[in-house]
Amino acid sequence: MKYLPLLWASLWRKKLRTLFTALSIIIAFLLFGMLQGVNNAFNRTIELSNVNRLIVISKIALTESLPFSYTQQIESLPGVARVCYQSWFGSYYQDPKNFVFAFPVDPERMFEVYSEFKLPPEQLEAFKHTRSGAVVGADLAREYGWKIGDRVPLHSTIWTRKADGQSDWSFDIVGIYTVPSDRSQENQFFFQHEYFDEARAFARGTVGWFAVLIKDPNQAAAIGAAIDKLFANSQNETKAQTEKEFQMGFLKQIGDIQFIVTRILIAVFVALLFATGSTMTQSVRERIPELAVLKTLGFSDTRVLLLVLAEAVLLCLLSAAAGLALATALFPKLKNMLQVVELPAEVVFAGLGMALLLALAIGLPPAWRAMRLNIVDALAGR
């Protein structure tokens, strides 16, 4: 601690140079925070997936529907606690840009299987008893200023109504749910499957997919196999996966985000390593006489090594902290793209860890040189 003033003063010996080096590091860690944050957001969806749930889709493709009658059949299998079904509504609110993740569901089954979705009991009751009722996530309600009692029109790009052949559907908001464990889930829109099934022009009696709550997560594979076996060789074969497998498969289709992010970050850090490394080396080279003086004053070789290293650590950690702070401040701006509210703490810690590694990588060679410095030669200007 008592060396801090000395370190600080050494760091600012050449103000502009240190400033620019610090800015480069800040920028690199701003990128690190943002990109790693995006990466993390995608992985988070997978990590947060529930181990107690299986997702059952058509074996042909996610977009092929399954018969409604499967509900009872799956539920009667041993190990299955409860089954709920959903369908893809493919809708927007007022403008195609305002995409809404809406799903027709069975109110009771939905909130039993997705127990982390919290809905006040009286609102659930209202949902059950209102044919055109809808329950929306708190975040979605906030975005469009929806309140309980509002009548909300949604335009479906898929489903037309039998009565008028139109694609405009309207719903009465009767509840607002929250998901305390994962706020990024608070952007969905649920309405009654029964109402939907009766009103739609085609594909009646089918649902998009099933979410199956199982009693024992260790039995997931066995139960999944049992479900698939139940419908094997039928018109509508199924593919049962754990929620995690399902999410992973889906994300993989978007593209290997992790791959791209890692490539960019490696490139950024190689450049940074080079830039800061060379300024650090240069700065130590200029200070050789000073370092020699420290040694004559009785600073041991190891102490000089540590001083130079500490300088690199101080610079890297402070700049990285600033960059990560900036990323934390800016990250919520990406919300619309990512559905994530804030930069996860683990990204910040990983960033600080990276900063430490960076400091050691750029600090060690000049520090080593400073340690090996021969006083007599250095003082004689050799």
Partner: protein, 228 residues
């Protein structure tokens, strides 16, 4: 009085490319506590090498070097560093202050190696600056000081840890006559009033006159002692 510096049959050889150069030849030297010795001689006579050996910056190729009763010729690098911190104060021709630190912070540097508290370090540094007459310049950076002032700060830094021995290499080599006289007067004062043992390399005969003894070196050996 006992010897504070004692060199016995000291030789120092350097490797210069393929050639081995012997800079000091079997040299003997005793300096008593409280002495002020000027070391004179032409360039390349081995003055600085001798000073480096006494100051614990370098080790002899042969022979024994004792300072304050302690053999230092076979000490390890880190032991030598501890020795310098405790026993030696250096003053250089070009002051060698840290340009980014204030005068006071420069003087405090050696105290970072002690267990003194921040307050004590501060106080000691101020006292040292008072002794060299620069207390009012404590907050100034080296670039804002004149050559003489910078050298006073360097002397304060050499003093602050209360070393056994002050080792000065051409302390007035970069200063004009008047300033040089002031610095030499200060060294003399430190020797007389504060009992500091000083060994000073110089090739300025006027500077040497401030010392109690003058030693002449030539081609790696000491000429017979003469009293100033």
């Amino acid at each position: 009085m006992s010897s504070i510096v004692s060199l016995k049959r000291v030789a120092k050889r350097y490797q210069r490319g393929k050639q081995t150069v012997e800079v000091l030849h079997s040299l003997d030297l005793e300096i008593e506590a409280g002495d002020f010795v000027a070391l004179m001689g032409p360039s390349g006579s081995g003055k600085t090498t001798l000073l480096n050996l006494i100051g614990g910056l370098d080790r002899p190729s042969e022979g024994e070097v004792s300072v304050g009763g302690q053999r230092i010729d076979r000490l390890s690098g880190s032991a030598l560093a501890r020795f310098r911190a405790r026993h030696i104060g250096f003053v250089f021709q070009f002051y060698n202050l840290m340009p980014m630190l204030s005068a006071q912070a420069n003087v405090e540097l050696p105290l970072l190696l002690t267990s003194l508290s921040a307050g004590k370090r501060h106080q000691h540094a101020l006292t040292a600056l008072q002794i060299v007459g620069l207390a009012e310049r404590a907050k100034h950076k080296p670039a804002e000081l004149s050559g003489g002032q910078a050298q006073r700060v360097a002397i304060a830094r050499a003093l602050v840890a209360d070393p056994t021995l002050l080792v000065c290499d051409e302390p007035t080599g970069d200063l004009d006559r008047k300033t040089a006289d002031e610095i030499l007067g200060l060294l003399q004062l430190l020797n007389r009033e504060h009992g500091k043992t000083i060994i000073m390399v110089t090739h300025d005969p006027k500077a040497a006159e401030y010392a109690k003894h003058i030693l002449h070196m030539d081609k790696g050996t000491l000429a017979p002692q003469a009293v100033a």
